[in-house]
Amino acid sequence: MSLNTDWVLNWVRASAAVIAENRVELIRLDREIGDGDHGENMDRGFSAVLPKLDDLADDALPADVLKLVATTLISTVGGASGPLYGTAYLKAAGAVADLGELDGAAVTGLLRAARDGIVLRGKAETGDKTMIDAWSPAVDAADAALAGGSSPAQILQAAADAAAAGAEATEPLVARKGRASYLGERAIGHRDPGAQSTSLLLRAAADVAGTAATA
């Protein structure tokens, strides 16, 4: 079973909801090792996306939705996460170009393009204690699931699980990118807020795909 524009729309709506729910928690994480605005930034961005979804044409493709998310995040989030997530969605849109239905390969390509976009802008490597530490394991897990013949929903499930583990695994790390890098050893023991928001977003993607698949 493949995923279509409805899945992307549901993903975006679920993302907005989960970010709003976790706004305070993301602020708290960012206060520990950053400047305490990540939850506010992400919530401002996704709150701005929601009303714009109504303006999309009825025949909008997944790429159209992703591009809308990208430009809205870029123009409302600010901070480091705004351009990084913005680029992620922009590259994701590029990866699925004019596809109406996304099969496993397309979904995996979408995730990889998003991750590569973030690396391109932010130059972070795995282990730098950034959102990349959630994205990269997610992409690897998606690759493996795709190779194992999983469905798109299963691929997203695997990616979400890996992102969650990746976010958790940022806790013992010293940061080498972003504000947390200024803290040196003091960042140890704290989870990276961007990795956590990535984990939330990918979990939302899997959840709404799961619902779509079983529906």
């Binding site: 602020i27 708290r28 206060r31 090792i33 950053g34 400047d35 305490g36 605005d37 506010e40 930034n41 401002r44 870029i74 123009s75 409302t76 989030v77 600010g78 901070g79 480091a80 996460s81 705004g82 351009p83 990084l84 802008r121 932010g122 010293v174 080498r176 990118k177 972003g178 504000r179 890098s181 200024y182 803290l183 040196g184 003091r186």
Partner: protein, 332 residues
């Protein structure tokens, strides 16, 4: 959280509105997107735009005016502005000779200004960017996002502003800005955290007898938390790494900036200045210009930073040149 605000969501727009109304002789404000611009922009000179998260006032809006910035773009509190208002401000000040972006070195600021510069270039505006990174508390290495831009930014904005005001080309203004960036070093300390309005909680926790050494300007914790010390000992602790970094040497003429973080009374800033001037004098470094006050703040944080800029005749002349902004004014 105790603040003289209405809705936390309206802090930036309401404050910008008040600022523009109080200083209508110098600036006007655009409200959508939000930026502050010289009332006489664009002019025939190179334009200078800076910006960044709010909460550092008077940086940057307080430095818009004759001889300094042409526009300032405030983001949400402690959050870099998005590209749109930067592009709009850039367009508003471009008089055909190009625009310099003065960016503080934070991933968010760098990325958003980068995108804005790309977009402005598409519109045919020539943009150059300089990135301020004066904070010696952060080791500049492969293992960090690089040194942060802190209070030295004010000195870059003043001196680059004077260069643009006297009619220098974009290349020359950028070169002057780079020279200031190369020659200024800073380091700060916090006695108390600050509270971001939308967060409502202190940015870090400190016991009554603790301070944070090597803080940035966003309420981030510093490099180390240590026991509170007398003012003179704190100055010695900050000034050492600053002096050793370039290094500043005997015979150098410098500008000494004692910058309050927002909640420190002036009486304390001058106690700090006294010791800093003493230490520099002992090292044979001559303070020929000075600046004391709240210039690059972190909301209501108690604390301060020291900045030392190595001066030469050109930089001194540009520093002394007339400036007329809300927060810095002389010569007119």
């Amino acid at each position: 959280m105790k603040k003289l605000i209405n809705d936390p969501k309206n802090v930036v727009p309401e404050s910008v509105e008040g600022f523009a109304s109080a200083h209508a002789d110098i600036v006007r404000a655009s409200t959508d997107p939000i930026f502050i611009v010289r009332s006489d922009a664009p002019s025939g000179k190179v334009g200078i735009v800076s910006g960044g998260g709010s909460g550092h006032e008077p940086l940057h809006g307080g430095f818009v005016g004759f001889g300094m910035l042409d526009a300032a773009v405030p983001g949400a509190v402690f959050t870099s502005p998005t590209p749109d208002p930067i592009v709009a401000a850039t367009a508003a000040v471009d008089g055909g000779r190009g625009v310099l972006h003065i960016v503080k070195n934070y991933t968010g600021d760098v990325l958003n200004f980068e995108t804005a510069a790309d977009l402005a270039a598409v519109d045919g505006i020539e943009v150059r960017s300089v990135v301020v990174n004066d904070d010696v508390a952060v080791q500049d290495s492969l293992y960090t996002a690089g040194r942060r831009g802190v209070a030295g930014t004010v000195l870059v904005e003043k001196i680059a502003g004077a260069s643009a005001q006297r009619g220098d080309s974009l290349d020359d203004v950028a070169a002057v800005a780079e020279k200031v960036i190369a020659q200024v070093r800073s380091m700060g300390v916090a006695l108390t955290p600050c509270v971001v309005p939308h967060a409502g909680e202190p940015s870090f926790a400190l016991e009554d007898d603790e301070m944070e050494i090597g803080i940035g300007i966003h309420g981030e914790p510093g490099r180390e938390k240590i026991k509170l010390q007398p003012a003179d000992a704190i100055v010695d602790r900050l000034l050492g790494p600053i002096i050793d970094d370039i290094p500043f040497a005997s015979g150098d003429k410098v500008l000494l900036l004692v910058n309050g973080m927002g909640g420190t009374p002036q009486i304390e800033l001058y106690i700090i200045y006294r010791r800093a001037a003493q230490v520099l004098a002992e090292r044979g470094i001559e303070v020929t210009r000075s600046l004391v006050g709240n210039f690059t703040t972190s909301l209501e944080m108690q604390g301060m930073s020291l900045s030392v800029l190595k001066l030469d005749d050109e930089l001194t002349e540009l520093w002394d040149a007339p400036v007329q902004t809300a927060a810095l004014r002389w010569g007119r």
